[in-house]
Each structure stands twice: as C-alpha cells, then as structure tokens.
C-alpha cells in the first residue's frame, strides 16, 4: 500500500527529523535532549520512511546495516571511556578541551562526553532500526 502523499511527506519529514535528532543530540548537555532522545528521534525518522517507502528503500537511505551502526556506536562509547584512561584518570571520566578559550570567553567546548553521547545516539538508533526493519520485513 503506497500513498503518494505519505511518500512525499515522509521525504520532508525524514530530513526534518534527522536534523532535529542531531540538534537534540548536540544541545543535550545544557537543555533537554541528548543521545538517547536524539537516537529515538532519528529512529522514528527512518521508521516513518520505512512505512512510507518500504524497508528496502529505508535500508538504502540508511546506507549501513542498522545492527552494525549499533555496534559501531557501542565501540565509540567504549572508546570515549578509554580517553580518560590515556589521560591517567578512571575510565569514563569526562575529558574536556576548550578551543579558543580566553580569559573571558569559554571557547568552543569539545569533550569525550559528547563522543560518548554520539555513541549512545548510534546504539539507540541502530538497535531500534534493526528490530523494526526485521519485523517489517518479516510480515
């Protein structure tokens, strides 16, 4: 059952949801959001796409198999934990770098915590999509 309206709408909606999911991921440290929510929104985006255009097309749009995305995410999260190890601190201690920081300005904060959150994002999105795609293909 293919609906032209749904297909056309879904294309727009998916793009919006994906941008929004990354937005939620990045802002999560200070305002509501974060990797978990971001990952869920990203997953919803692809689920909508899969419902509208079929899983085959959704898989193609995703480019990588979702279960692999989840594994890569897990690896990234683990890697961020090991960053602290290299710096001689307990694993998963946040490591921060303030680029261009001056006396008054904080600069651009980069952290292992963000890397960790990216890992969470990928795991959540990958795991959910692996499940949903498999379920839909089963039917």
């Amino acid at each position: 059952m293919r609906s032209v309206i749904l297909t056309a709408g879904a294309r727009l909606l998916v793009a919006l949801l994906l941008v929004f999911s990354v937005f939620m991921l990045l802002r999560g440290h200070n305002v509501p959001g974060g990797g978990f929510i971001g990952g869920l929104i990203g997953a919803v985006g692809f689920v909508v796409y899969a419902i509208a255009c079929g899983t085959a097309e959704a898989r193609e749009a995703l480019r990588a198999p979702p279960e692999k995305i989840a594994m890569v995410g897990l690896g990234i999260a683990l890697f961020s934990g090991f960053m602290a190890f290299v710096m001689g601190e307990a694993p998963f201690t946040g490591q921060w770098l303030f680029i261009g920081a001056t006396e008054t300005e904080k600069g651009l904060p980069l952290s292992s915590v963000l890397v960790f959150d990216v890992g969470v994002y990928l795991v959540v999105m990958g795991a959910i999509l692996a499940l949903v795609f498999a379920l839909e293909e089963e039917v």
């Binding site: 440290h29 974060g34 978990f36 919803v44 279960e67 995410g73 897990l74 998963f92 915590v113 795991a127």
Partner: protein, 757 residues
C-alpha cells in the same frame, strides 16, 4: 595413547619453536626460584606486592617461604622436564602449539597459586588451574570419554572452588584482611570464632575436591584421559597437590583443633587405603599410577592432620619424594606406550633388552617409590612411620593404614616398573625401541635426584624441608632430621615388615586382583553415582523449565506477576511500610484531567475486542504518563516517553499484522483471572509509589548533582550530565543491553530465513 598414534604430520619449525619457548619459560622460572634457595634456607622469606583492586582489598602479592618455594621449584622444574618430554611425545600433533599454550598457562596459574599471599588472588589462580586442567584433560576433544572426564573434573573441582571462595570471604570478614601473612598471625582468634567450623568445612571442601579425597576422588582416575605428559604434570606432581598446599598453607590458621585432626585423619586414611587397593587391581599403567597418586594425596592429608614435627616433616618429605618418582614413572608409562603401543601390564614384558635406559630410570624411580634404602623414598617412609606413631589421634590405626598402603605401594611399583621390563616376552602392537633423549631426560633426571637426595639428604633438608615445616607449623614445631640410618627402632622394623609384606603380595598379585575385582562389583561406584547425580540435576532442570517456561506468553506473565505480588506485596505487608493514602491537597484540575485520560485509556484497552483499539488505548495511557512528567518538570523523561510510545505503537502495529484475528466468539477464558492479577498488581505498585513518595526523601545526591553538574561537568541539564558523565559507566552497560537486545531480536527474526536460502 591416541595422541601418540595419530599419524604424525611433518612438524613445522614454527611448531617446534612453540615447544622450545615453553621449555625455556619453565626453565627460566626454575632458575629464578633457585636463586631464592639461599635466603629462604637461611630462614628468611621474600614478598612482593602490587595493588590490584584496591577498593576490594585485592592485591597481587607474592610470598616466597619454604613451602611455596618447594612447590615453585617442583612446578617449574618438573614443568620444564615435562615440556621437554612433550616436544617429542606430541611431535607432529595437529594442536601441538595449542598444547604448549595450555601447559604454560597452567604452569603460570599454578605458580601464582602457590606464591599468592592474597587469598582472593590465590582463588583466581586456583580457578585458573581448574580451567586449564579442563582444557588439558579434554585435549583429545574428539573423544567423548575425554570430554566427559574433563567436564567431570571441572565440575567437581569448580564446585569445591565455589565453597573455597565462600570460605575465603568469611575468613576475610573475620580477620579483616585477605593477606595470608596477616591472617596467619590471627590463628588463635579464628579458631575461637563462631564461624570457625563453617570456614573450615568450606576450605576443606575446596581442598578435598582439588586433591581428590574420598568421596570426591573419582574424577582423578578419569582425568587420565589426558595426554600422558599432562597426567605426569597436573594429575600427579602439581595441580592435585594444590589442595594439599592449601591445607598446609592454612595449617597455622585452621589446624590444631580436634575437628581438623579427625576430619583430615579419616579422609586421608580412607583415601590412602582405598586407593592403594584400587591401584594394585588395575591393569593399565596409567590407572595404576593414578590410584597410587590418590594414595599419596591421602597420605599427605593424613600427615597434615597432625601437629607434630615428625608428621609435618614426613608430609614435606613425602611431597618431594612423590613428585619426583611419580612424574618420572608417568613419563616412563608414556614412553612404554609410545614404544610398544600398549599400556596393559598383562601384555608387557621383557622390555629391558630393547629399552635399557628406560629400564634403569624406571628401576630407580620404583625403588624410591617402594621405599628401599638408600633412596629418598626410604627416608620418606621412615618419617611416615615416625609421624604415624606420633599422631595425636590413633597412632596404631594410622600406622597400620600407612603400613598397608606402603606395602601395596611396593606392589604397584613392581607392577609398573619391573614386570613390563623383565618377566617373559610378549608380542606388543609395535616393536619396542629405546626412546629419544627428550623423552628420557625427565625420567632419568628425576629418578637420579630421588637417589641423590636419599644419599645426601642435606641437599633438600636445609633449604627446603626445614623452612617448609616452619611455614606449615608457623614456626612452632621442630623439624625432624632426615636420616638414612637412625639405628634399630620401631620405624625400621615397620619398614622391614612393609617390604616383606609387599614382596609377598606381589607374589600373589594375580589372586589378589581377582579377589579385589570380585569385591569391587559389590561396592557402590562413585563414578556411576556422579552420573546419576548429573542426570538428576538435568531432570530437575527439565522439569522446572517445563513448569516455569512453558513457551506461553500468558504463563510467563502470570509467573512474573505472581512473583512480584508475593515478593513486593508480601514485603509491604510484612514490614508494615504502607501507611495508607495520605492527603493530597495540591491536586488541581489539570492533574485530574490527566488521571481521567489515563483511566479512560486503560478502560478502553481492557474492554475492547479489537487490537488496534487496544493499542490506541495504551497510547493514550502513555501520553498521560508523559503529561505527568511535563507537569512535574522532567522534559527529558517526557520526550523519551513520547518517543518510545510512538515506536511501541509502530512496532505493535507491525507485529499485530502477524497475529491471528481476534474473534469475540472465541471468548477470553482467563479474563477474570487476568482482571484479578491486573488489579492486584496495580494496587501493589500504587502502594509502593505512595509509600516511597510519602517517606522522607534523601536529597543528598540531588544536591550534589545540582551543585557540581555545571562546575565539574560543564553541563546544565542534570539528567543528561548524569547519563553521560557522572554515571557514564552505567549508561555504557545500558546501551550495551540495548544493542544486544536489538541484535538478538534481529537475529531471531532474520536468522532461520537466511539459513533457508
């Protein structure tokens, strides 16, 4: 031995290298420990310590005293010889390199075990020896018999290991430390403590299973399924003595009580006597040796029971004697097998001509085993009689048992090391030939050492035995002297009786064997008992799986909810924590609207006969819950809830397509029961929530996170900062679960289909 008869592959240089590296590692350890002989012989000890898991009080600390040094030298020395032996014995074997990895791993674990000063790291090494032993017994993994024996050894020693762990935790709790050197000083306190008996039982379960004391002995003869070098190394000279080591090590802490004395005496005596009868009944060389090893372990246990200088010296000396001759004889059994293709004593004879060096080494080792002068075995036997006559329990019984066991030992020595070489000539599967030097080096060196130490016992008395006795007794006992000639006294007379009796029994060996065979059929078999025990466990597992995991979703839910009801609801009633429903003055109209929404959603879900309607009802409930989160200022949770709710509806909708259509006329036979369960669960959960929210809330953590979220972690969203920074480790665990769950579901849905293609 199957390993030896496999068609040998051309051995590659890389393979040979693996063997030689292992030999080198073992030799290096031996040389290293050799250096410690001086300081330890002078009465000193060495200690190294590193923090391992400081938060749990686990340190990697190593301690070298007379006892651990004796063990370390035996492990590394015999290890080097056994590895050298294996380079030839297993040459061309498909898994040659793997074998040496296992063997080296085992050696390291065993060394760690005897050198550990921390009980918890000792336990880790203890388990590692069980695991490597499992891998080595099951080395010929294509044979079901090997696999069974390996599993049996693992389960028996692993079970004992669990008991040991419990004992270690208790003793750590009582003594306030896991460091052996500190626990040793608190022996009196621990013996007086109310938990002493529990600790003792748990430790002895560990030691008895590892060192194969009755009734846990049955795994050891079965472990002979391992390649012969493994039997020589693990199951006679080293690993099975780990239990003996533990008893010796804990002697200053746990011994000197009647329970210790009698338990060890009874277990040791019965094991020694039973095993020596079993030994002379066997016809397979390795089985004979396996049972004589059991006899030795029993004897060692027996002497560790006592608390006299003679008994402990006897234990230390016999430990060394036994390791020397037993490793040698096992290797010789391997050589015979290698060279003739059989290990059946009834089919062997007259090998002396073809294998002169093996014959000589076997003769030397067997004379030490049988306890003839001037071998170390003779001194060991004399000391055993001194020790037996000095025990505090039942000197006559113990001395009688030791005498009987020793006489039977002589018979076993004759069966293993004389009959195959002299008496008559038999046609063997392959023509006997002398073994290459790698195979001969071990038995020859060990057999010569047995003679050398006997003639000049000072070589081991001062540097090893005396410090060893000091370590076992906590320095309270005077070690006995090692003497070949101590004048005509009772032990010498007993020795003479032993030898006469032994030779007499060897003469009538065949008749004795027939008699013992007839006896055995009447006795219950531990090995079969073990099978029955395993079968029973499996039957129980099958039964409880059928009951609890029927495969019916409703059944699962009933079981889970019933457990929850009983456990949580019962606790609530039992502790009286639920104080009734409190006043709620702060409720506004918006709250009531949300509540009504949730109730309406729930009602719709329960009364509808359409799945889609039920899903929509559930969705309404989810939105209501999300609204509650928003009202109480938890936007993160609310967003997550809404998103999850959305996804659940999608998933449910997809899954619902596959379910059979619900027909109202089918009826819902369990609806009343379902309603009852649902109501009860709802009430219990509500009661918990009310109890939790009306009680005082500890805001310590909240305050901490509020205060340090921005300062320490540069984040204002506390929820997220906790997730990704303060509790990042937990989050990692959670996302790992999410990933595994996703992939598991994917695998279940996808797997069989892919296969079908």
């Amino acid at each position: 031995m199957a390993a030896a008869q496999d068609t040998p592959l051309p051995s590659s240089p890389g393979q040979a290298l693996a063997g030689w590296i292992a030999v080198l590692i073992a030799s290096a350890f031996f040389v290293g420990f050799w250096q410690a002989l001086g300081p330890v012989g002078a009465g000193g000890s060495l200690r190294w310590s590193w923090d391992w898991v400081p938060s749990l009080g686990i340190s990697l600390s190593f301690f070298v005293d007379g006892l651990s040094l004796t063990f370390a030298l035996l492990i590394s020395g015999i290890g080097a010889l056994v590895m050298l032996y294996s380079t030839k014995y297993l040459a061309g074997h498909k898994h040659f390199a793997r074998f040496f990895v296992y063997l080296t791993l085992f050696m390291m674990a065993m060394l760690g075990l005897v050198l550990s000063d921390n009980l918890l790291s000792l336990f880790v090494f203890w388990e590692l020896t069980s695991i490597t032993s499992y891998l080595l017994i099951g080395f010929t993994h294509t044979s079901p018999e090997s696999r069974r024996s390996a599993l049996q050894a693992l389960l028996v020693t692993g079970g004992g290991g669990l008991a040991l762990l419990a004992g270690i935790i208790l003793i750590g709790w009582v003594a306030g430390t896991y460091e052996l050197s500190e626990i040793r000083a608190q022996g009196d306190m621990i013996r007086e403590h109310g938990l002493y008996l529990t600790i003792l039982v748990l430790f002895l379960l560990g030691a008895f299973t590892k060192s194969a004391q009755i009734p846990f002995h049955f795994w050891l003869p079965n472990a002979m399924a391992a390649p012969t070098p493994v039997s020589a190394y693990l199951h006679s000279a080293t690993m099975v003595k780990a239990g003996i080591y533990l008893m010796a090590r804990m002697h200053p802490t746990l011994a000197e009580t009647d329970v210790w004395l009698w338990t060890l005496t009874i277990a040791g005596t019965s094991t020694a006597v039973f095993a020596s009868f079993m030994a002379v009944k066997q016809t397979d060389l390795k089985q004979i040796l396996a049972y004589t090893t059991l006899m030795a372990l029993g004897t060692l246990t027996l002497f560790l029971a006592a608390d006299t200088g003679y008994a402990i010296t006897a234990a230390m000396t016999f430990l060394i004697v036994h390791s020397l001759y037993k490793a040698a004889l096992f290797m010789i059994a391997g050589i015979i097998d290698h060279s003739t293709g059989t290990r059946e004593i009834d089919r062997l004879g007259g090998l002396a001509k073809a294998m002169p060096i093996t014959t000589a080494a076997a003769a030397l080792a067997a004379l030490s085993m049988a306890g003839f002068p001037p071998f170390l075995g003779f001194i060991g036997k004399e000391l055993k009689y001194y020790g037996a006559l000095a025990v505090q329990s039942e000197p006559l019984l113990v001395a009688g048992a030791v005498l009987l066991a020793n006489a039977l030992m002589l018979v076993a020595a004759g069966l293993v090391a004389f009959r195959p070489f002299w008496r008559g000539t038999y046609a063997t599967p392959t023509v006997p030939h002398e073994a290459p030097w790698q195979l001969l080096a071990g038995p020859v060196i060990l057999a010569i050492l047995g003679a050398l130490f006997g003639i000049n016992s000072d070589l081991i008395a001062t540097p090893l035995i005396k410090p060893g006795v000091d370590a076992i007794s906590g320095g309270e006992l005077i070690p006995a002297d090692l003497k070949l000639w101590a004048g005509v006294n009772l032990p010498l007379i007993l020795s003479a009786v032993t030898i006469t009796l032994g030779i007499a029994l060897l003469m009538v060996h065949r008749r004795m064997r027939a008699f013992l065979d007839a006896m055995e059929t009447r006795l219950p078999s531990f090995d079969r008992g073990w099978d029955r025990f395993l079968d029973g466990t499996k039957a129980f597992a099958v039964w409880q799986t059928r009951v609890l995991q029927s495969g019916d979703m409703r059944q699962y839910l009933y079981v889970i909810f019933a457990t929850l009801l009983v456990a949580v609801g019962g606790t609530l009633i039992w502790t009286g924590a639920f104080q009734g429903i409190p006043e709620m003055p702060g409720l506004q109209v918006k709250h009531w609207v949300v509540v009504l929404l949730i109730i309406a959603g729930t009602a719709l879900t329960t009364i509808t006969n359409s799945r889609i309607t039920a899903i929509a009802g559930l969705g309404a409930v989810g939105i209501g819950v999300a609204l509650i989160f928003i009202i109480y200022g938890a936007p993160d949770v609310a967003i997550t809830q809404l998103l999850v709710e959305t996804l659940v509806v999608v998933l449910f909708a997809v899954a619902a397509l596959r379910l059979p259509v619900m027909k109202p006329e089918d009826g819902f036979p369990n609806r009343k029961l379902d309603a009852l369960f649902a109501t009860a669960i709802g009430l219990v959960v509500a009661a918990i929530l009310i109890t939790v929210t009306t009680g005082p809330i500890n805001r310590r953590l909240t305050d901490y996170f509020e205060a340090s979220s921005w300062i320490d972690a540069y984040g204002r969203n506390i929820v997220n900062v906790i997730l990704v920074d303060f509790r990042a480790m937990d989050t990692f665990g959670e996302i790992a679960v999410v990933a595994v769950a996703g992939i598991a579901a994917w695998a279940i849905l996808k797997g069989p289909k892919e296969d079908a293609k």
